[in-house]
Subunit: 267 residues, 4 copies
């Protein structure tokens, strides 16, 4: 039972400069809190609500920047892939390939990601039960790559709302045998809730993150930005960078108790 890890970064890679600044700042916070860090950003927002929303910096540019972040700060990297063709080039630099929730059942994408040999972290679709992730993990392992992670990011609950079922964390651990991550950022999303963009309620990020860590998880996923309200995507859900240290400190404290307990925890 390893201590809690942190997957963090701005939702979208905005520029080389911004990525380097964010990586440095978050690394400093993580180091102070004594928590392991994986740096996350997306190079393409492939499923925006509206066609008019910005898409991102693109794969080629992002791969270079990720390589620089790795080298400068010694941080493992994760990013999400949307097309089979993206897996190989992303696998050159990313330590963890993330499969978006909407795509968690696309067999060919899962297999292409697994074939890179990298860790594959699959977000549970908003339309799936936690026990359904057992088949998803099995698809990945059928390639011979057993380095699988799964992420909870909320389940559909009526229209334009997600709910985080905390029972899903031990259920996914049992049915996949994989480390379970709690994505506190997208779990507070209100899909489609602002007309042409998704809304969200940032104030519930600490609420849900605390709950998940108390239940017991391998890691938390928290997107952060120095100025979320002006970020190109997921602004309503991102935690302001200056609030991250206090939140991480809390989570580390809860994790220490959770990992020392013997009942109801994620095994």
């Amino acid at each position: 039972r390893l201590p809690l890890a942190l997957i963090a970064g701005p939702c979208a890679m905005e520029s080389r400069e911004h990525a380097l600044e964010m990586a440095e700042a978050i690394k400093e916070i993580a180091d102070k809190a004594g928590i392991g860090l994986v740096y996350k950003s997306s190079f393409d927002k492939a499923n925006r609500s509206s066609v008019a929303s910005p898409r991102g910096i693109g794969l080629a540019k992002a791969v270079e920047v990720f390589a620089e972040v790795k080298e400068r700060f010694g941080l493992p990297i994760t990013t999400d892939v949307h097309e089979i063709e993206q897996c190989a080039p992303v696998g050159e630099v990313a330590d963890i390939l993330q499969i978006p929730a909407f795509l968690c059942r696309q067999t060919d994408l899962l297999i292409a990601a697994a074939k890179t040999g990298r860790v594959v972290n699959v977000k549970k679709g908003q339309f799936l039960a936690p026990w359904d992730m057992g088949n998803v993990a099995a698809k990945l392992r059928a390639t011979g790559n057993a380095r699988v992670m799964v992420t909870e990011r909320g389940a559909s609950f009526g229209y334009n709302t997600l709910v985080s079922d905390m029972r899903s964390l031990p259920i996914m651990a049992e049915t996949t045998g994989a480390p379970v991550i709690f994505d506190a950022t997208h779990s507070v999303q209100q899909p489609g809730g602002r007309g042409t963009t998704s809304g969200g309620e940032r104030r519930f990020v600490p609420v849900l993150a605390r709950a998940a860590v108390a239940v017991g998880v391998a890691g938390v996923f928290i997107e952060t930005h120095e100025d979320p309200d002006n970020a190109p995507s997921d602004g309503p859900n991102m935690v302001p960078l200056k609030e991250l240290p206090a939140l991480i400190d809390q989570l580390v404290a809860f994790d220490a108790i959770a990992k020392g307990t013997t009942k109801g925890r994620v095994a």
Copy 2:
């Protein structure tokens, strides 16, 4: 307000012989009922629950068979695409390209489908509100192709269950301005409900189809098979071919009343 159309066929294309037999049989039923028919089959089941489930006949083979079905029986064809690269070759033969529900927000796939110039029929994701389909239709129309259709196939309702909200039919008609299809087959699916495959309750296909047609829709989507319990996919949801004529007759009768009315209908 055109009369009800029927999109029907076996879920997966099994062989040239089976496709020709099914197309002939369904065409005969549709002709007798006086309902327009679009023949549907999938060449690849790209998001099966389990990696061990059969995938399908493949694109190249299917394109040939579809061409033969079109020529022999004069039927328009629809099938689903999962990858950007599939759109152009499928667009050579299919009159309507169908976008799977899980992929309804993948911008590049939508655009690639629209660029074929064919009609694009997007299934509403189980995780979307009906009004969210307005943005989806706008993504397609931004390409200059205004030939858009949208399909209701159920919304997530707790775990392993879908519910068909009949209000979604007029809401989608209003927010997309597109013809609305009701998929009575996948609306009765129990996603992940049988462990490594999805379950379903065939007996509710007529129930939901009748409800949708009474509300008022442009078409119904009904998968059918001469022996559903031995079909390679969606068996629990498919209507036995021999029960199709009576069902279609009912739906045509309801449609006549629905289309003649002036209140509460899909405009």
Copy 3:
């Protein structure tokens, strides 16, 4: 398989004069459409969102008015009971005692209602599955009174929203063996949706009523008012009286087809 019946009236009894006027007007509409009518009004709104909302005319006064409606227009009467003590006096005049959805599991209330010997119509709780109504019907029948009806009025779907699962109509028919009513008024309610009162979307009443009648039901429940926007309760959901005739005509036409069919219907 009897033809469709109509349960209708203003949500709350406002005054003797208003009740007589409404009963006369609705009876005329029902007679023209050739549909059987049960007159409905509530004497007490016992579970309003806010304590400041009006409650109603009270039991004693209502019993007198109901008796006059029965005598003058020859109409059967239904109203809802909330307390054990109300059952006997209400049973003196009402032909059908209605159990509110929130109270559908209160054993003593069910038994007290059944002991009047009147028909008992239980609304399915928003928190119940349709098959759970089998136990509810059994509670009533255990008293020796087998005159049971059950009503669908929507299921909780996220917050402040209900969804009408049309599969629940045949499921309730099978599991209870009782006539199934579809309440098209409360099914479009948005519980708590306007802060201190519930909202609703009247425009979906015909949509859902048509769907339910096409599936096959014993009756529809539709609250109506000559001026819904100024009614003391359920205004957002009530159908304006002047729109009722066209709606009833449609439903009668759908019912004729539904009752003549042999598949997927409520047995």
Copy 4:
């Protein structure tokens, strides 16, 4: 911000002897853990799934036993009321009157409970949004009794399933201004899930209790029994008495961190 309190006891009062034994045993556990205890049992199970299920010891007998528990062990008492007439006699002995979730909108019952002058603890209906509890608390306070508590016990999530939305805890605290209790026992219930009785998954009690305490609550509600599998009601959800000490110790540890924090907590 007071430390966490515990509301605990067997679901149903079985006999005087059993009540005294359970009160003594739970008090010992609570004293060792340094947590305040309120003893809970029901004298009547008024809304059982089936009419054949046992109902309970009855009000008159229970009042005597509660008085003896109070006197012997110095414990405050809580029990649930279902009828207006029960409020006054229960209020003679109970320190907290609990309103069942199904009845949380019944105005007259709320008012009768509040008029006893005792604390009134209202369980949020499975059909309500957390913000809807603001009106419920206002109904109580309109009587002049401001001693209000509210309890989360899960929200309807599809059929026969509840989900615990951890965001509801801070939302209820904000909208009611009242202490918030998390009912870890009924939150894991599967309503109607075993045919004629409700099912449940006891193994998730610690999971959800930990999550709620980490979010920050005034108290947890946990039903316990020395032999849950043979208890007359709620057996599938009750924690075996011998497992209670370890669970309480965990919760007290989480509470200490939660109450020391400054973000995302229940104010």
